[in-house]
């Protein structure tokens, strides 16, 4: 009996140790941005808050207006991204200064939403776009928990709800058009293009008027890099962008899980150990004590 128990603990220990040791060795390789990934560059020093981008996004994506009654009159005035609003302009303030900030999907190089999505409804598509395919979505909303930017929105009032988020107007590419928001911006506060070009443009602006900006280019390294980049006159905290490190969001979870489930070895070993022990101790299963 002692032997049996020792054997069991050894087997379990070996499986656990194997899993633990595998963790650093199997540290996952993050997905990186490609130079021609499609993205946006938003420059908060240029935005005048005209919301042309919000309206054109709505039209380009066939979304209904988000009408709220204010003082007895209807306004198309979304306060945040929602189930039918894929981009929105919000006000920010750091106490002394204020301005505007645009929100939409950041199109992470290594997106958390795609990592958690059970059947890949959210996935990386051509040109790095984080795409949504409703036919693979069960509406579990894990993407909302996972996204560090709180971007994916759920259609709470719909009988057949979907996840709504910016897909960089990929349905317009065939017609030779890019993201609608960038197309209509009167001040080039938001421009679209390959990420490498946007990054170069961002650094050109930083170098040209360094005193106008603070904090560098958000999205260059944050969260493993995003295709949508931000420039700000006041750093990024006031703009509501989270202080992410260089690691992509899925790195921690996937390293731990990959470590444990590497090649499915540990589960198989563990199952074998459990089954053998259960067979050896089947007398105990009948209520007998050794």
């Amino acid at each position: 009996m002692t032997l049996t128990r020792r054997g069991a603990l050894q087997a379990l220990g070996a499986a656990a140790a194997g899993a633990a040791l595998a963790t650093p060795a199997e540290a996952r390789t993050p997905h990186r941005s490609a130079p021609d990934d499609l993205g946006l560059l938003y420059d908060a020093t240029r935005c005048i808050g005209c919301r042309a981008c919000v309206t054109s996004c709505r039209e380009a994506n066939g979304e209904p207006r988000d009408v709220t009654m204010m003082a007895g009159a209807p306004y198309d005035a979304p306060v945040d991204l929602n189930g039918h609003t894929l981009t929105v302009i919000k006000q920010w303030s750091d106490g002394t200064r204020d301005g505007f900030v645009k929100a939409q999907c950041m199109h992470c190089a290594d997106p958390a939403c795609a990592s958690v999505c059970m059947m890949g409804a959210l996935h990386k598509g051509p040109r790095g776009v984080v795409e949504y395919s409703v036919d693979r979505c069960v509406g579990c909303r894990n993407c909302q928990i996972a996204c560090p930017f709180n971007v994916p929105k759920f259609q709470w009032t719909s009988a057949a709800p979907q996840i709504a988020k910016c897909e960089l107007c990929r349905h317009r590419w065939a017609a030779g058009k890019g993201p609608a928001c960038a197309e209509v911006c009167p001040r080039q506060a938001v421009i679209a293009g390959p990420r490498s070009e946007l990054l170069a443009e961002a650094h050109r602006r930083l170098a040209a008027t360094p005193q106008a900006y603070q904090g560098g280019v958000y999205g260059e390294t944050e969260g493993g890099g995003t295709a949508c980049l931000y420039l700000s006159p006041a750093g990024f905290g006031p703009l509501g962008l989270p202080p992410l490190g260089r690691e992509p969001a899925p790195a921690l979870v996937e390293s731990v899980q990959h470590g444990i489930y590497q090649g499915f070895v540990a589960p198989v070993v563990l199952f074998g150990a459990f089954a053998v022990m259960a067979w050896k101790n089947r007398a105990a299963g009948q209520g007998e004590e050794p």
Partner: protein, 405 residues
């Protein structure tokens, strides 16, 4: 020989069961409201808190409390403690029902619930990095395994029934079920080890949205340990509840001996929690986290109190102390899991969440249904260890140890 499990018999529609049926009806009405009016109308969930109590309570806490079968299978088959055998069947049954409730809770929660069936049958679509997928598949498989692990009880129940054809069929399948048991036990141990730990991994991805006192790479370990703690608590609670409700002998000496294991597991959890916080340099947060600090210390103190009571059960194991210990362990594990999934989760932007009446009614309705089905099954099938029939030559081990004369 074993302390033979026997059906409890007796009336089904007791006043208690009638009350539970009222809760079931209210839950069903709330459920109808959810399916006709949508999640937005029926629940308080929102884009900031996309997971409410149907996930945090029905699934995460519910399956934690349904870990009794897992814990006992571990004790009996891996640590070779046959004396706990009389507790196995009731524990497996509560596990089966608890996981079934989780499955139904998920159906209420999923926005596109009608596509749910595709998850297990679409291996081509499986995203191998999805922790939730692993949890979903493991839990589905585990419900099946639990049902099969209980097949001796179902078959014995049929064999003792009045229908001769069914009795013959059951008699033929019983030995086969016994033979398959090691494989089933293996699966019944592996699957919860995987998905209970993965429940913790789910919230690792929340990153900055989960308070640093709770966010760590050790979440899977903590969820595995709380599964053990809550599973133990439920075994105690269930034994004491069954003995009160059905007038069964209480296996109090058995429970007293088990207490050492439970106390040690709780202490391991607490030591690991503080050691990891120390390593991560977050110990200061335990006093500076304000409202959340209160929740952290509540977890710690409740579990500490539970451990002290479990370790102090002694030889006789006074049932009142055992019940206190069990309730504290269940409460401590429940609070920890609730904190990780809701209390310590803050998406920012001023989002708030408190469950709606419909959410609460659905959850209560599910718990009520589970309890009614449990009562029904233990009255009709041999689940609970019975009193040995007169003149039996050998005194069963479980009875020798456990029965109050």
């Amino acid at each position: 020989m074993t302390a033979r499990a026997t059906p409890v018999q007796g009336k089904l529609l007791t006043p208690g069961v009638k009350l539970l049926l009222v809760l079931w009806a209210l839950g069903t009405a709330a459920g109808l409201y959810r399916f006709t009016q949508g999640l937005g109308a029926a629940t308080a969930m929102n884009d900031g808190y996309p997971w409410g109590i149907w996930i945090a309570v029905d699934v995460v806490i519910g399956t934690g409390l349904a870990s009794g079968g897992y814990v006992l299978a571990f004790l009996v088959f891996i640590l070779n403690r046959g004396r706990y055998h009389p507790l196995v069947r009731p524990a497996l049954l509560t596990s089966l029902l608890g996981y079934a409730v989780a499955g139904v809770g998920v159906a209420f929660d999923l926005g596109r619930y009608w596509t749910m069936w595709r998850i297990p049958v679409s291996p081509g679509l499986w995203n191998h990095t999805s922790v939730l997928l692993e949890v979903a598949l493991c839990m589905m498989a585990y419900v099946l395994v639990l049902f099969l692990e209980l097949s001796p009880a179902w078959l014995e129940g049929l064999a003792a029934g009045r229908d001769p054809a069914r009795a013959r069929l059951a008699a033929r399948w019983l030995p086969r079920a016994q033979k398959a048991l090691p494989i089933l036990v293996g699966a019944g141990l592996l699957l919860p080890t995987m998905h209970q730990s993965s429940l913790g991994a789910l919230m690792m991805m929340a990153g900055l949205k989960l308070h640093p006192l709770w966010h760590t790479g050790f979440l899977p370990l903590y969820f595995l340990l709380t599964a053990f703690i809550m599973g133990f608590g439920v075994i105690y609670f269930e034994s004491i509840f069954s003995s009160l409700a059905f007038g069964r002998p209480l296996e109090h000496r058995l429970l007293a001996r088990l207490g050492r294991w439970v106390g040690v597991v709780i202490l391991v959890f607490l030591v690991a929690r503080f050691a990891v916080l120390g390593l991560e340099g977050k110990l200061g947060l335990t006093v500076s986290a304000g409202r959340l600090g209160f929740f952290f210390w509540a977890e710690v103190l409740i579990l500490l109190a539970a451990a002290a009571r479990f370790l102090g059960l002694g030889q006789e194991g006074r049932p009142d102390r055992a019940l206190q210990a069990a309730l504290l362990a269940m409460l401590g594990g429940t609070l920890y899991r609730l904190d990780v999934f809701l209390v310590a989760y803050d998406p920012g932007n001023g989002w708030i969440y408190f469950p709606s009446l419909a959410e609460i009614l659905v959850t209560l309705g599910l718990i009520a249904t589970e309890t009614v089905v449990y009562v029904l099954l233990v009255r009709r099938f041999p689940i609970l260890a019975g009193i040995s029939p007169a003149g039996q030559p050998t005194v069963p081990v479980g009875l020798r140890e456990g029965v109050t004369p």
